[in-house]
C-alpha cells in the first residue's frame, strides 16, 4: 500500500509571480483551510518533498533553479502549476523576460488556474496530483 496519499510533502517555489498565489498557498496552511489535516507539510527542501508546487512563471533567472529543484527531488514526484502564471505565463506572458509557464522547463502533472488561485482549487489540485503520484509509484515498483 502506498502512503503518498496519506503523507504528501510539498515544496513550494515561487517563480516570477506577484506573490498573490503564494499568499493563497500559505493561506492553505492557516487554520481556515488547514492542509496539515491531510498530512501535507510544506518542506523547504526538495530532497524531502514529493510534490513540487510552483507559482509564478519562468524567466531567465529562475529557469535553472526550477530545473535544479526538480532534479533534486527524489522519485516519485509530481509537479503542480498553481496559478495562471505558472500554467502559461498569465498576464505577463508577453513580457520580454518571461519565458512562459513552467512546463517550458519541467514536466507538469496538474494545472490549477486562477489569478490568484483559490485555496480550495489548490487543495483540489493536490488531491489530483496525489492520485497521479500513487499511480507513478505503482508503475515504478512494477518495473
Amino acid at each position: 500500500m502506498a502512503y503518498f496519499k496519506k503523507s504528501p510533502w510539498l515544496i513550494h517555489y515561487d517563480g516570477s509571480s506577484c506573490n498573490g498565489c503564494d499568499i493563497e498557498v500559505l493561506a492553505c496552511l492557516t487554520p481556515l483551510y488547514d492542509v496539515e489535516r491531510f498530512g501535507i507539510i510544506n518542506t523547504g527542501n526538495p530532497k524531502h518533498a514529493d510534490i513540487f508546487l510552483v507559482t509564478g512563471s519562468v524567466n531567465q533567472q529562475n529557469v535553472d533553479i526550477i530545473r535544479n529543484i526538480y532534479n533534486q527531488m527524489p522519485e516519485p514526484k509530481v509537479v503542480i502549476a498553481a496559478g495562471i502564471c505558472a500554467c502559461s505565463g498569465g498576464i505577463f506572458a508577453e513580457c520580454y523576460n518571461v519565458m512562459g509557464g513552467i512546463d517550458k522547463v519541467i514536466p507538469v502533472d496538474v494545472y490549477v488556474q486562477g489569478c490568484a488561485v483559490r485555496p480550495e482549487a489548490i487543495i483540489d489540485g493536490v488531491v489530483k496530483a496525489l492520485a497521479i503520484l500513487e499511480e507513478r509509484y505503482a508503475r515504478a515498483k512494477a518495473a
Binding site: Y13, N45, P46, K47, D64, I65, I66, N68, I69, N71, Q72, P74, E75
Partner: protein, 635 residues
C-alpha cells in the same frame, strides 16, 4: 635492577652514535634498532623482574650521585651562559638560585641524609616506562621520516638532525630515570635534564620565535625546578625523607611544605594555569617534539609526580588547591580550544586541559580519583601522540596546519584521515578510553567532599561539554567532502614508511588499549591503587563488558554500513544549494551570474571563547590558587 639501569643508560648509546652520524640511512638503521631494543626492554620489564612488584633497589651509588652533580654543574653553567648570550637574564638568575640550593644540599646537608633505595619499580612506574618506551620509541621512528620532509620543505633552516636525535634519545634516557627514581635528588636531576631537552628541542629551528618560546619554557620550568630544589633542601634540613615512597607514606602535617613545592614543580612542568603559555609556545617545535615531550611524556612527568603525591594530598587544603588549579585549567584550556583553528594549538590546549583533569584527580587524592587519573595518563598519551603524528604528516602533505584546510582529506588521504578520526574519537568519544577515564573522574569527584565536590563537578560538566564541541567540529571538517574522487591520489604515497609505521602502530595501540582496558585495570592499575590506598577502586564488570562491546561496535558498524550502500540502491545527487547550479568543488552560479565558490568555516566563537580573555583569567586564577596552595602548606 640491571633492567632499570639498562633502560636508563642504553638510550645514551644511540644518542651519541646519532650525534656522530650524518648519513640519513645509517641514522635510520641505528634509530630503528635502538627503538626496537627499547620497546622490547620496556614491555619486557615485568618478566625481567624476578620478584613481584613493587620492588626497590638499593646499591652503593656514591659514584652515581657524584656523576650527577658534576653533570649538573656543567648543565647549570651551560644554561647560565645561554641565558646571558640570548639576553634572557631571568634564566641565568633562576639557574643560579637553583644551583645554589643544590650546592648547599650537596655540600652541607647531604651528609645528614641517608638514602638507601635509589631506584624502584612499581606498577605506576611500569605503566609510565611502557608509555615512554613504546610511544617514545615510535615517535623517534616517526621523526626519521618527518624530519627528512621537514628539511626538504625548509631548506633555509640548518640541518641539525644529528643533534635533534641526540637530544631525543637523551630525553628518553632521562624520562626512564625519572620514573624509576625513588631518590628525590636523582629524580630532580632527571627532571632538570628533561627541562633542558625541552628547551633545546623547542629552539631547534633557531628562529627568533623559537628561541623566545624556548626561553619562556625554560624560565617557567626552572621556576618549577627551583621549587623542587627548595623541597629537597627543606626535607634535608628538617630531617624528612628524601625517598619518594617514604615521603608519600609520611603523615601530612610533617611534609606539607615540600609536597606543596613539589606540586608547584609538577604544575609548571605540566603547563597548568598560570604556566600554560609555555606549552602553547612550544608548538613551534617540530612535530615529533610536540608529540614526545609536550603531550605524551615530559608533561606527563609533571602529572606523574603530582599523582604520586596523591595520598598525601587527599583531604588537605593543599590538595584542594591543587585540585582547583587542575579543574580551572581543565575548564579554561577547553574554552580556549574552541576558538583555535590551528590544529597544533587545539591539540596543545586539549593537552593542557586533560593534564588539568589528571591534576584534579591527584588533588582529590582518593583511590577512585587516582584510578581515573592513571587511566587518563595512559589513554591521553596514546591518542594525543597519534593525533600529533597524523597532524604533522598532514601538514607536510597539504601545506597547512589549519583545520579549515582539512576538508576533502578523506578523498585525498583516506587512511590518514581515518586515523585522525580515530585519534579524535579516542579523545572524547564513548567508549574510548578518555571517556571512560572521564566517567571515572566524575564518579570520584562526587565523593570529594562537601565543598570541593560541587565546584569540581561544575568545572567538569562545563569543560566536558566544551570538549565535545571542539573535537566534533574538527571531525566534521574532516568528514566534509565536496570533490569527487578522481582516481588514485599521490598525496598519500609520498608518506614515508617510518611515518606510516608509526601511524599504524599508534592506531592499533589506541584501539588495543581500549580493548585491553579491563586487563590493564586488573593487572596494573587496581593493584597499584590497592597498594597505595589500601582500598579497591575500579569499574564494575558490567560496565567493562559494555565498553568492550561498544569499542567493537563503533569500529565494525561504519565498516559494514559503508559497503552496504551499493546494495541499497542509493541515487547520487548534488548537495542542496537552494536550487543554484552546482559545479564541482562547491562552485555555484551566484548573483550577477558570477561563478563563486562556497566556503564553509567552523564556528570558532572567538567573541565568547577568546584566547586572550581566558588566558588572562587563567593566569589570574592560577596565580591566586597557587598562592593559596603555598599559604595552606605553611599553615
Amino acid at each position: 635492577m640491571t633492567a632499570l639501569l639498562f633502560l636508563i643508560l642504553f638510550p645514551l648509546i644511540p644518542a651519541v652514535l646519532l650525534l656522530a652520524v650524518k648519513h640519513d640511512g645509517a641514522r635510520g638503521v641505528i634509530t630503528r634498532l635502538a627503538v626496537g631494543v627499547i620497546v622490547a626492554a620496556s614491555i619486557g620489564l615485568p618478566w625481567l623482574m624476578n620478584a613481584g612488584l613493587p620492588v626497590y633497589f638499593s646499591f652503593d651509588a656514591e659514584w652515581a650521585g657524584k656523576a650527577m652533580f658534576f653533570i649538573e654543574i656543567f648543565l647549570a653553567g651551560l644554561i647560565f651562559f645561554l641565558g646571558l648570550k640570548y639576553k634572557h637574564y631571568l634564566t641565568s638568575v633562576l639557574i643560579t638560585l637553583q644551583f645554589a640550593l643544590m650546592a648547599w644540599y650537596e655540600f652541607s646537608l647531604s651528609g645528614t641524609v641517608t638514602i638507601q633505595q635509589h631506584l624502584f619499580l612499581d606498577r605506576l612506574s611500569l605503566i609510565m616506562a611502557i608509555i615512554i618506551g613504546v610511544i617514545g620509541g615510535l615517535i623517534c621512528v616517526y621523526a626519521l621520516g618527518y624530519m627528512r620532509d621537514f628539511h626538504d620543505h625548509h631548506r633555509e633552516m640548518p640541518d641539525r638532525r644529528p643533534y635533534f636525535f641526540f637530544v631525543m634519545f637523551v630525553f628518553l634516557s632521562a624520562m626512564f630515570g625519572l620514573v624509576f627514581a625513588n631518590n628525590l635528588v636523582w629524580l630532580f636531576f632527571f627532571w632538570e635534564v628533561t627541562t633542558l631537552c625541552s628547551f633545546l628541542l623547542i629552539g631547534y629551528t633557531k628562529t627568533a620565535e623559537a628561541t623566545t618560546n624556548a626561553f619562556k619554557a625554560l624560565i617557567m620550568n626552572l621556576g618549577g625546578g627551583l621549587a623542587f630544589a627548595g623541597a629537597i633542601v627543606w626535607l634535608a634540613w628538617s630531617g624528612g625523607p628524601l625517598e619518594l615512597k617514604a615521603l608519600i607514606a609520611s603523615p601530612q602535617a610533617m611534609v606539607m611544605i615540600p609536597v606543596a613545592l613539589l606540586c608547584f614543580a609538577g604544575i609548571t612542568k605540566s603547563a597548568q594555569m598560570p604556566f600554560s603559555s609555555w606549552l602553547l609556545g612550544a608548538m613551534v617545535a617540530p612535530t615529533p617534539t610536540s608529540a614526545l615531550l609536550h603531550s605524551s611524556t615530559m608533561v606527563k612527568a609533571g602529572v606523574y609526580l603530582v599523582l604520586r603525591l596523591a595520598p598525601v594530598l587527599a583531604g588537605s587544603y593543599v590538595g584542594a588547591a591543587v585540585a582547583l588549579v587542575g579543574g580551572v585549567t581543565f575548564l579554561l584550556a577547553a574554552f580556549i580550544a574552541i576558538s583555535q583553528s590551528n590544529a597544533k594549538k587545539v591539540l596543545a590546549y586539549s593537552t593542557v586541559s586533560n593534564l588539568g583533569l589528571i591534576v584534579t584527580c591527584a588533588g582529590v587524592g582518593t583511590a577512585a580519583a587516582v584510578w581515573a587519573g592513571i587511566f587518563l595518563i595512559i589513554f591521553h598519551a596514546v591518542a594525543k601522540s597519534l593525533l600529533f603524528l597524523c597532524v604533522g604528516t598532514l601538514e607536510h602533505r597539504i601545506g597547512s596546519r589549519d583545520i579549515e584546510d582539512m576538508d576533502n582529506i578523506l578523498i585525498k588521504m583516506p587512511t590518514l584521515a581515518v586515523m585522525v578520526l580515530i585519534g579524535i574519537g579516542g579523545m572524547f568519544v564513548a567508549p574510548f578510553g578518555m571517556l571512560i577515564s572521564k566517567w571515572a573522574a566524575i564518579r570520584a569527584f562526587v565523593h570529594a567532599g562537601p565543598v570541593m565536590s560541587p565546584i569540581l563537578i561544575l568545572l567538569l560538566a562545563y569543560g566536558s561539554a566544551v570538549t565535545v564541541f571542539f573535537w566534533t567540529k574538527w571531525m566534521a571538517k574532516i568528514m566534509e567532502v565536496s570533490v569527487l574522487r578522481t582516481g588514485h591520489d599521490p598525496l598519500e604515497d609520498a608518506i614515508s614508511y617510518d611515518e606510516r609505521f608509526a601511524h599504524w602502530a599508534h592506531t592499533v595501540l589506541t584501539i588495543g588499549v581500549c580493548l585491553a582496558f579491563p586487563l590493564v585495570s586488573s593487572q596494573l592499575v587496581e593493584p597499584y591503587v590497592a597498594e597505595v590506598f589500601g582500598q579497591a577502586a575500579g569499574m564494575e564488570a558490567g560496565n567493562l563488558m559494555l565498553t568492550g562491546i561498544m569499542v567493537a561496535l563503533i569500529l565494525i558498524l561504519p565498516t559494514i554500513a559503508f559497503p552496504y550502500q551499493r546494495k541499497a540502491g542509493y541515487v547520487f545527487g548534488t548537495a542542496y544549494m537552494a536550487g543554484l547550479n552546482e559545479y564541482p568543488d562547491r562552485m555555484y552560479d551566484g548573483s550577477l551570474s558570477q561563478r563563486r565558490k562556497a566556503t564553509l568555516k567552523n564556528y570558532y566563537l572567538a567573541g565568547i571563547f577568546g584566547e586572550e580573555k581566558f588566558m588572562k583569567v587563567g593566569v589570574l586564577a592560577g596565580t591566586c590558587l597557587l598562592a593559596l596552595m603555598l599559604g595552606a602548606a605553611l599553615l
